[in-house]
Amino acid sequence: MNRIRRISALAAAAALAALPAGAQTIAITGGTVHPVSGGPLENATVLIRDGRIVAVGREVAIPADARRVDARGKVVTPGLIHPASNLGLLEVSSIEATDETDVAGDVTPSFDVSAGINPDNVRIPVARLEGVTSTVVLPGGGFVAGQAAWIGLLGDRREDVIRRAGVALLANLGAAAKGAGGGARARGLARLERLLDDAAEYDRRRADFRRNAIQPLSAPAEELEALLPVLRGERPLYVVANSERDIRNALHLAAERRLRLVLLGAAEGWKVAGELARAGVPVVVNPFQNVPGFDNLGARWDNPALLAEAGVTVVLTESESGGPRNLRWGAGHAVRNGLPWARALEAVTLAPARAFGAGHEAGSLEPGKLADVVVWSGDPFEYATRAELVLIGGREVPAMSRQTELLERYRRLPPQ
């Protein structure tokens, strides 16, 4: 199991190194460019070669063989990064045969979703046509659910789309911790602490473990093995926590063991904003969430704004029934509710890239980065705006999806 995981991680790393070369050099000229790594540039050029950005600025020399894209009057941004989807893993949620997100058992850290990715999943084109160029795909349900993967949203083979497996280990300190704790989340939390301690013990005493000269551990070796990168701080622990109580528990757990923590949900994050900022924990929030439940009575639409104001790194997500295509409007909605526009753009580009260890590869328009680039007809967060050109790894996304084909078939009735 472990070996297989390593191989798939290696394969993914190799795929990343050999990302599909854009067949051509592309120069996007004249647009208002938001590199995100720096302030906006008017009338600037983004130059792309072999799938990577090679230059961004107002004085960029354009090679004669470059395909020119006239972006005058348009807005150029990095491609959006969805931090919490199941694109490629799930096709129709009510049809179990199309769902590769879930496994039996509540402690399955060795479950790596990447081998279940289907690059032909019909939900992928719908998302990328609205400027989502890559996503972190999550395992489903359990308490310690498994490992997320970062995938690009264009490619024919699985190796083409998986950018990195094991970018985070997903755990759930909300309702799932309550269940895993036999009814009380305190017990669930204790169970997670014991798992991490056992993983450390296993790592220290591998020889004793092989000789059976060790007290029984709380999970099989392959599961403990999968926790080690988290213990070493190499892989973030991605924790679902919405209530103030659960957020504090996660902060405490991570601080004690010096884990890298990313929070998902954080509906009541605004109450703990100062601590989250001091701890430097990126927080993935849904700007559409404000309906109270007993795990998130303090949910409010200005949560992203309040977090950002306190200095927290905000990452935006969504869970709309229309799918990840809604990410850009979620960002707009966060702006509507007080998040500064530039912070919102960062929260769907560079902030998620950094949170999942891809800050050197994506999330901004800087030389050397993957050419995930979108040319918008206007403000990317507005409904009236259209993603006119979407590049993923320097390749142009075809303006086609299952939805566009249905539209064309039924544009005139009766269909021909």
Partner: protein, 464 residues
């Protein structure tokens, strides 16, 4: 005035469409012969008085014609009394500077479960599906609605003034809907829209056949047989009661609540609101309606409505759709974001509905999404069309088009003042008037409802 409006409401309810109705009182000198002759669960809603309101210099989307620039709107005694350019403020009026702002009718949602699937989302307050029998036409959503649902203030802050609360979609025939005004209330009667006709929730497809798999129906043909059986019984029931009401001879027939609702549909008093995703199934349901001589007022969800937009236009059946929900089950697999725009193009009546406690708070955004998906695909849809998708057309689907849903003199003063073009993602509802009463003011916490549930909770309340 408030009392009068409540009484009028009960009267209207009784006298729908001039047909003999179960609740129509008998001859004046006779005591009611049966409980069916007494008033059934009357509305006690009373319009709250408010001073006149003059909104000046705004862009007004009337939902009844072209948008008006630099225009003014006058509200008095719960009604729109004037709309124009040079209106004078009556004495004591609240004057709103509408510069840079937009004014629309209050948003109407044809498909909500507020109150019947209340927050905080416990089983204890999950009262939306009487999933104990495939046909439960006898249940009424209003008997489940919890007026303290904390989702209600959130919807108000999104500019919603009137909603239809529906039973869920577990059943072939799920029960009667309730049309309510979103105002603070202790009882659902205080929210019931006076005179509004009931809807009957029906559901096609996957849900009923999944829920009743073991006892049936377990197939789509089983679903169809179930509706037909129910309406055959209703025909007989209706004939018996109509005869008795005409003659008043002998004992009244035995009351049957299930058949009473279905007979209401056959008499045209109750409007059919039909959850149905697939085009081919909607066509079957149109045939069912023909068989029994009623019309389906609106399909709901109707993810494939665009495939039969011409048939819907012909049948005069509206389609209440989402902007872009799709793919979460097989019958939603063919969703396209141009659904509403394609319906509009074909001359069918398009409605954007929510079916969701989140979506109901931003129906303007959902309409914007559908509008621009259409425009970007080259379909001929305008802002004037899109505003009707969330106001005038849903008003029609609820049978309230003569009273609300547009800004015209004489209509109810259900009005929203927006900070910007409501089809911008950045727009916020700043003021919401429900029949002339200021139910929400973004700048005034005293005008932001907190339900009993909200008290003493960590929840910050609305307006954020």
């Amino acid at each position: 005035m408030p009392r009068w409006s409540a009484l009028l409401g009960a009267g209207l309810l009784a006298a729908c469409a001039g047909q003999p109705a179960p609740s129509q009182p008998g001859p004046k000198d006779a005591a009611p012969a049966t409980s069916a002759d007494r008033v059934q669960y009357a509305s006690t809603y009373a319009r709250r008085p408010f001073r006149p309101v003059l909104i000046r210099n705004a862009t007004i989307l009337t939902a009844a014609g072209p948008e008006l620039r630099n225009a003014s709107l006058l509200l008095e005694d719960g009604k729109v009394t004037a709309i124009g350019t040079a209106l004078a403020a009556p004495e004591g009026a609240m004057v709103v500077d509408g510069s840079g702002k937009f004014v629309t009718p209050g948003i109407i949602d044809t498909h909500s479960h507020l109150g019947v699937y209340a927050a905080p989302g416990t089983f204890a307050e999950g009262d939306g599906n009487e999933a104990t029998n495939p046909v439960t036409a006898e249940v009424w959503a209003e008997h489940s609605i919890w007026p303290q649902d904390p989702q209600i203030p959130l919807a108000i802050a999104g500019g919603v003034t009137v909603i239809q609360v529906l039973p869920g979609s577990a059943n072939l025939i799920g029960g009667r809907s309730a049309v309510i005004r979103l105002v603070p209330a202790r009882t659902v009667q205080e929210m019931k829209y006076p005179g509004a006709r009931y809807g009957l929730k029906m559901a096609c497809g996957e849900n009923p056949k999944r829920v009743y798999r073991s006892r049936g129906p377990s197939t789509r043909m089983g679903n169809m047989a179930g509706y037909r059986d129910a309406f055959i019984d209703a025909e007989e029931y209706r004939a018996k009661w109509d005869k008795w009401r005409a003659e008043r001879k002998g004992d009244p027939p035995e009351r049957n609540l299930r058949l009473e609702s279905l007979a209401g549909v056959l008499r045209g008093e109750i409007l059919v609101q039909n959850h149905c995703y697939r085009a081919d199934e909607m066509a079957q349901m149109l045939d069912l309606a023909r068989e029994f001589g009623f019309t389906i007022r609106s399909f709901h969800h109707a993810v494939e409505a665009y495939k039969i937009a011409d048939l819907l236009a012909q049948a005069g059946t509206a389609a209440s759709v989402w902007a872009d929900w799709w793919g979460f089950k097989m019958e939603s697999y063919d969703g396209v974001p141009q659904n509403a725009a394609l319906l509009q193009q074909a001359g069918a009546r398009a409605i954007i509905h929510s079916d969701d406690e989140g979506g109901i708070q931003r129906l303007n955004q959902e309409a914007a999404k559908a509008l621009h998906a259409g425009r970007q695909a080259g379909l001929p849809v305008t802002r004037e069309d899109a505003i009707r998708w969330i106001t005038a057309n849903p008003a029609w689907a609820l049978g309230l088009e003569a009273e609300t849903g547009t800004l015209e003199a004489g209509k109810k003063a259900d009005v929203v003042v927006w900070s910007a073009d409501p089809f911008s993602v950045y727009a916020r509802a700043e003021l919401v008037f429900n029949e002339g009463w200021l139910v929400f003011d973004r700048t005034d916490p005293a005008r932001q409802l907190r339900t009993d549930f909200n008290l003493g909770q960590a929840a910050p309340g609305v307006g954020r």
